[in-house]
């Protein structure tokens, strides 16, 4: 048995800029390691990250000191375990089910996607990240949650503010002031929509939770909506931008994908390659052995699914590359265990079956003229910050 190694060199800034070479080295040399700067234990191999997420008795999501609590003004289901977590999760899960996607959302999302794509100017160079990926993700989520009245700008701003607050590990009061203001705006909107959802129930998350036979407390209804806002825009946004980047920088694959309509494969490979949610936090409830090392109780463990998704033992030596033709293996972009992404099916259908085919049907000869101009960023959440494409 080995002592837990400590990495004094790696910083959050390094991981935000370009984490993948660092993770590759960690997988090989120190797959379980304490990162000195954050005092958190990073776990980078696929077998360990999967096991940790599937073992909530030892690796709890409950974190009493999480900045998520002040940011969301509630302890959300993301930081709960067991029956309590399941009850809150299942209260809104029906809104995200394949059945409801089929009956309620597919037609609407197709119309929305057509609308947003048709606004893009043919022949011009635009920032697809800003002009499509963000707004369409916001609009789709607004409808799914039953918050149709919220603007794309509001949804995106609330989302980012909640994320900034939830990541405010330094407890900077300014960031919580901003999240408090966003909470007040969201609460006011939710308050105003209750009567509509009671009078005209639909299959949105808000209606589903409000009109359930045994509804969860209103405070948790609101917290769930906020979690969905904080966690439901940047993932599809970043996934879309990442997949478009992957296709446009691999012309051979792009041609084959168009020829064979392999949009769902493109989706899976994109989220494997750069998982929009790269990292998840858990807290040990007891001493536990991970790989060759012992970790004590009460330790903050970060599972790095970004790294698991490129693990050589599963993907061989070319896991660093975007390759939609690689052998199919399950990836961990949606996590595993009780907190497996509630939006996984919605994301697959919305992007893989609606958005990607529609976008490239309209602009089959889209190009990314200078990939070096694309800025990638993010430790917890990752994706391009811009995507200057020419639309043809």
């Amino acid at each position: 048995m080995l002592d837990l190694p400590i990495n004094e060199a790696v910083t959050l800034a390094d991981l935000t800029r370009d984490p993948y070479p660092i993770y590759k080295r960690m997988r090989a040399e120190t797959p379980v390691v304490r990162m000195a700067q954050t005092n958190r234990i990073l776990v980078t191999r696929a077998e360990h990250t999967k096991w940790i997420k599937e073992t909530p008795e030892i690796f709890s999501s409950d974190d009493p000191t999480t900045p998520m609590k002040p940011a969301f003004q509630a302890q959300t289901l993301m930081r709960k375990d067991g029956a309590e977590h399941r009850a809150e999760r299942m209260a809104m899960q029906p809104a995200f089910s394949p059945k409801v996607i089929r009956t309620d959302w597919a037609d609407l999302y197709t119309r929305l996607a057509e609308d947003y794509v048709s606004r893009l100017p043919r022949g011009e160079t635009v920032d697809l990240f800003r002009d499509l990926c963000g707004p369409i993700a916001a609009r789709i989520l607004a409808h799914m949650l039953g918050l149709d009245e919220a603007s794309d700008e509001d949804m995106q701003r609330w989302s980012q503010t909640l994320i900034d607050g939830a990541g405010n590990f330094g407890y900077d009061p300014k960031l919580f002031e901003l999240s408090d203001a966003a909470n007040a705006e969201m609460n006011a909107l939710f308050d105003s929509l209750i009567s509509r959802h009671r009078a005209e129930p639909n299959n949105s998350a808000f209606s589903t939770m409000l009109n359930a036979r045994n509804p969860i407390p209103m405070s948790q209804v609101y917290a769930n909506l906020k979690i969905a806002i904080g966690g439901g825009i940047n993932e599809p946004r970043d996934a879309l931008a990442t997949i478009v980047y992957g296709l446009l920088t691999n012309p051979d694959q792009f041609e084959e994908v168009k020829r064979q309509a392999l949009w769902e494969d493109a989706f899976e490979e994109g989220v494997r390659w750069v998982a929009p949610i790269q990292v998840s936090g858990r807290r040990t409830t007891q001493e536990v052995q991970i790989g060759d090392v012992f970790v004590g109780p009460g330790e903050a463990v970060m599972t790095i699914q970004a790294s698991a998704n490129r693990d050589e033992t599963i993907y061989g030596e070319d896991g660093e590359l975007f390759n939609i033709f690689r052998d199919k293996h399950p990836h961990q972009a949606f996590g595993s265990g009780p907190h497996h992404c509630a939006g996984a099916q919605v994301a697959r259908r919305t992007l893989g079956q609606i958005m990607l085919p529609l976008l490239f049907d309209r602009f089959p000869n889209m190009t990314l003229d200078d990939p070096a101009k694309v800025i990638w960023s993010g430790f917890g959440f990752r994706g391009p910050l811009n995507l200057p494409v020419t639309l043809n």
Partner: protein
């Protein structure tokens, strides 16, 4: 070990050796049955291990708990009286030679 037969929507069959006490999802995934995904790893949280038990198998399997019924509602393929989440069905010695039908799609 018992023999379990997985039959896909096109009718093609694969016989696997299943360990008594394992669940159907784990057995399928570890034997490379591609029609079972099991993305959440057995937490009854993703409905990507949806299977249809044959009537004889349904007869002897442990009954569904509420959490399973709830999650099955989120399965991609049609849900019938014989639908189960594979992760919630434990394999017993009596299941020797029985058939598990696979849906068209899990996502």
């Amino acid at each position: 070990m018992v023999k379990l037969i997985f039959e896909n929507a096109q009718g093609s069959r694969q016989i696997v050796d299943a360990r008594v006490g394992d669940n159907i999802m784990f057995t399928a995934v570890s034997n490379g049955i591609a029609e079972v995904v099991g993305e959440c790893g057995g937490a009854a949280m993703c409905a990507t291990c949806h299977v249809y038990l044959s009537p004889e198998l349904a007869e002897i399997a442990d009954p569904k708990q509420e959490i399973e019924t709830e999650m099955l509602d989120c399965a991609a393929a049609e849900v019938t009286d014989f639908s189960r989440l594979g992760c919630q069905v434990q394999i017993t010695a009596e299941m020797e030679g029985m058939v598990v039908h696979l849906p068209e799609s899990q996502v």
